[in-house]
């Protein structure tokens, strides 16, 4: 059984930074329907770890939904939250947040509600700066990619009561905001309130989360050569710097592979000639690692 901890209405033009402990659920619900919400998420104990659209997009595609995770940016790459529910099925991790500059440059506004400034104002409660606002998880935002590879936004499909539930897998600062776009189709040319609830998760909620494996390469500050967060804005070269790039120099070894007639014919059939021409060695290398990628013979 879930326990309700907090409930309020997020008013148009606003956002709210919310401390969520591991095991708490943030539920964002449509009141009237048709409202896009932007979302930022930070590790509450280390704000430099934050939600990353790119990592999430790579693992779950451009429309994350129920059953997907919200991942933090490299080099952390940890699951921060889990999408327990998504009744509208229209979320986006392609589009950037709207900004004051968008509304000035396209529409001529001196001032207009926008997700960058709303997020910044909400995050200011925790001492974060406008530069700390990151690419948003866009909830209730209908987007796609056309045949020419261009991204687009279409009109809203969400109805009253549609909701997204995000389970915190670590202590986070979760920051939802009402998207400020009322002169574009993102929220069907309006700005509306949304209902926000925080619950303590039930055993059933926890049971819904797939097991997660830990990796040595999910780095923490302890792994960093530079651990301190900069306070100076101006950049200056470290005279003591000596590059320590991983596995460098990259050295290639020529390895001779004897292929029988059958294998040679196979190579002839499989070689990507349009890519490699008559360079059989490069074609064979492509085949070997393509096989590895496709079959993952070791975990």
């Amino acid at each position: 059984m879930r326990t309700l901890i907090e409930e309020f209405v997020l008013e148009p033009g606003t956002g709210k930074a919310l401390e969520l402990r591991k095991g708490q659920i943030l539920r964002l619900e449509q009141i009237e329907g048709g409202q896009c919400l932007d979302f930022n998420c930070f590790n509450l104990d280390d704000y430099k770890e934050f939600f990353h659209c790119g990592r999430t997009r790579t693992l779950h595609g451009i429309h994350p939904t129920r059953g997907d995770f919200l991942w933090s940016a490299p080099p952390r790459e940890r699951a921060m939250m889990y999408i327990l529910a998504d009744t509208a099925g229209a979320n986006d991790v392609m589009f950037p947040r709207c900004s004051a500059n968008l509304y000035e440059s396209v529409y001529g506004y001196d001032a207009h509600t926008n997700c960058q400034d709303i997020q910044a104002e909400a995050q200011r409660e925790y001492g974060l700066t406008p530069d700390d606002v990151h690419d948003s998880f866009n909830l209730f935002m209908c987007t796609g990619v056309d045949e020419n590879g261009r991204t687009y936004i279409t009109r809203q499909v969400s109805k009253p009561g549609d909701h997204v539930e995000l389970l915190a897998l670590m202590d986070v600062l979760a920051v939802p905001n009402i998207c400020g776009a009322d002169v574009m189709r993102t929220s069907n040319f309006a700005i509306r309130p949304a209902k926000v609830q925080i619950f303590a998760a039930s055993d059933e909620d926890f049971a819904a989360v797939p097991p997660l494996r830990s990796w040595r390469t999910q780095r923490t500050v302890a792994d960093f050569k530079v651990k301190a967060i900069r306070t100076e804005r101006k950049l200056a070269r470290d005279p003591d710097y000596r590059p320590e790039f991983v596995n460098t120099p990259i050295d290639y070894e020529a390895i001779e592979i004897a292929l029988d007639a059958e294998e040679l014919a196979l190579l002839g059939r499989l070689a990507r000639r349009e890519q490699y021409g008559d360079r059989d060695g490069e074609a064979l290398r492509d085949i070997v690692f393509s096989w590895w990628e496709e079959t993952r013979p070791i975990g």
Binding site: L259, D260, V288, P297, I298
Partner: protein, 49 residues
């Protein structure tokens, strides 16, 4: 059976992955693994060139 030699250039990271695959018992050695990969990839993509 007549054999033809193909020269493949691998860097240390690529050799590392193949060697760990060999160590897992997939093939007896690196050369055998490369030949195995070719045959298995052919099976996976039997219908297309």
């Amino acid at each position: 059976m007549a054999e033809t030699t193909v020269t493949i250039h691998l860097n240390q990271q690529q050799k590392d992955l193949l060697d760990r695959t060999v160590a897992a018992g997939v093939a007896p050695d690196r050369i055998a693994l490369i030949r195995l990969a070719l045959r298995r990839y052919g099976e996976l993509h039997a219908e297309k060139g």
